[in-house]
Amino acid sequence: MSFLTYFINGLSLGSIYAIIALGYTMVYGIAKMLNFAHGDFIMVGCYIIFSVSRALSGNSIVAIIISIVLCTILGITTEFVAYRPLRGAASPLAVLITAIGVSYLLENIALLIFGADVKSFTSVIKWEGLTFADGQLRIQGVTIVTIVVSIVILITLQLFINKTKQGQAMLAVAEDRGAATLMGINVNKTIMLTFAIGSALAAVAGALLCSAYPSLSPYTGAMPGIKAFVAAVLGGIGSIPGAMIGGLVLGIVEILSKTYISSQLSDAIVFGILVLVLLIKPTGILGKQVQVKV
């Protein structure tokens, strides 16, 4: 029974990684850049929820909505101010380094405003959860909500991309910006929309992450950000179902190795798996090797 509990916890942590990884992978697939500040958007989202729910004496729904809106604005602004001017720069490293700069900037702004001490975050999910088999199997509310939310997000995103014009435009921009422009697609607007979606997802991930692990500091987003990046690469960067699978695998492996092997070694095992998968399949689990006919 305890294995099942750990497995479900892993599934839940994996779902959070997956939501973050979706943002990473969409931005990478469409804007062709790694937004290393993505993890810090999560932290910003958490501080917004923290502050707003304190000001509104615990109204977490409003706090989450405000957090999503502000994170979306943050994402769009970052793209416009920091990344767009570097699009078409001679080296793709320029925008990568800028993203790392944005990451430090956000962390230090948080440090200035909120200080370095760890704040205790009040879970936005008040539900106790479910108990099965006479109390032997207990699943926390936040665990269930996290898994359900991630499934809803995945389905919504897939529908958006495959069924709407904007979603199709994203796929077109991801493949070939020039050809997309010839179709009449505004590439800049499409990339901006991608950042908006990615950042909104970061806010959602933040709310879930801090509810499951209720401590908040300026560096809260850094490690989950890196793990989610690993998840995206593991699943096949650029692929939306890949991000989901990568996130889940990562979360489950992390929790199970923490439980059964060693909590110190768990990160090493996680990254070891990444190395293994990339050795066997360099494009990731669902990554496609694109064959372009000339």
């Binding site: 014009k165 199709q168 435009a169 796929l171 077109a172 493949e175 070939d176 020039g178 050809a179 997309a180 422009t181 010839l182 179709m183 009449g184 697609i185 505004n186 590439v187 496609k288 694109v290 064959q291 372009v292 006919k293 000339v294």
Partner: protein, 237 residues
């Protein structure tokens, strides 16, 4: 004859290298105009500048009386100018049908769109047979058809074709060129860029010869075909 597209003194630089050295030419409504020349002559640069993928440094592009050089690339297709780019550039991860719908991205009227789709399928029956197949799995010739069908989905007045024969077997080349002629007969003006000068001149009304960024010769396509210097340099006779 009504001038549809007029290019005047167009210059484009890549850094310090001048790719187009002030070229001027025009395309009349209903014509097939060929732009021929060797590798690196500036043919693709010309088409990319017309479609707004590259900014012109000097000169003007006037399409139906409207200046295009300051217009964003994504605004141009809805004015009635579509391009079939070099190397097809179909969206390999999308299906044939999704590719065709992308071609009609700027069009709003669903009923009209269905109508255009029918005419495109009629012209390219193979695309209808493979409408749910990923574009990346098509053969080179089929991808060329898809690229043409995709451009036609925008219901263009003029279509810019960049090397439609590139990498195709001789049978497909003949098929593609006869389709270009058909499209033109249906009232679409064609600006055709080709290295296969013989083929291009055989279906064009007029032609311009581009050499290292300048137009060195222009005239009636049939006359150019019999021009000694053209024969020697481009027709391999």
């Amino acid at each position: 004859m009504e001038t549809l597209l007029e290019i005047k003194d167009l210059s484009v630089y890549y850094g310090v290298i001048q790719a187009l050295k002030g070229i001027s030419f025009h395309v009349n409504k209903g014509e097939v105009v060929a732009l021929i020349g060797a590798n690196g002559a500036g043919k693709t640069t010309t088409l990319h500048t017309l479609s707004g993928l590259i900014q012109a440094d000097k000169g003007s592009i006037t399409y139906k009386g409207q200046e295009l050089t300051k217009l964003a690339g994504n605004k141009i297709v809805s004015l009635g100018m579509a391009q079939v780019p070099e190397g097809r550039r179909v969206f390999a991860q999308m299906t044939v049908l999704q590719n065709l719908k992308m071609g009609a991205y700027t069009r709003k009227d669903k009923a009209e769109l269905e109508e255009t789709l029918k005419t495109v399928y009629k012209r390219f029956p193979r695309l209808e047979e493979r409408k749910n197949q990923l574009a990346g799995t098509l053969s080179g010739g089929e991808q060329q058809m898809l690229a043409m069908g995709r451009a036609l989905m925008s219901h263009p007045e003029i279509i810019l074709m960049d090397e439609p024969s590139m990498g195709l077997s001789p049978i497909f080349v003949n098929e593609i060129f006869s389709i270009i002629e058909d499209v033109n007969k249906d009232g679409v003006t064609v600006l055709l860029v080709e290295q296969n000068a013989k083929k291009a001149l055989s279906i064009a009304n007029r032609a311009y010869v581009l050499e290292t960024g300048s137009i060195v010769k222009e005239g009636d396509a049939k006359e150019l075909m019999n021009d000694e210097s053209i024969k020697k340099a481009y027709l391999g006779e």
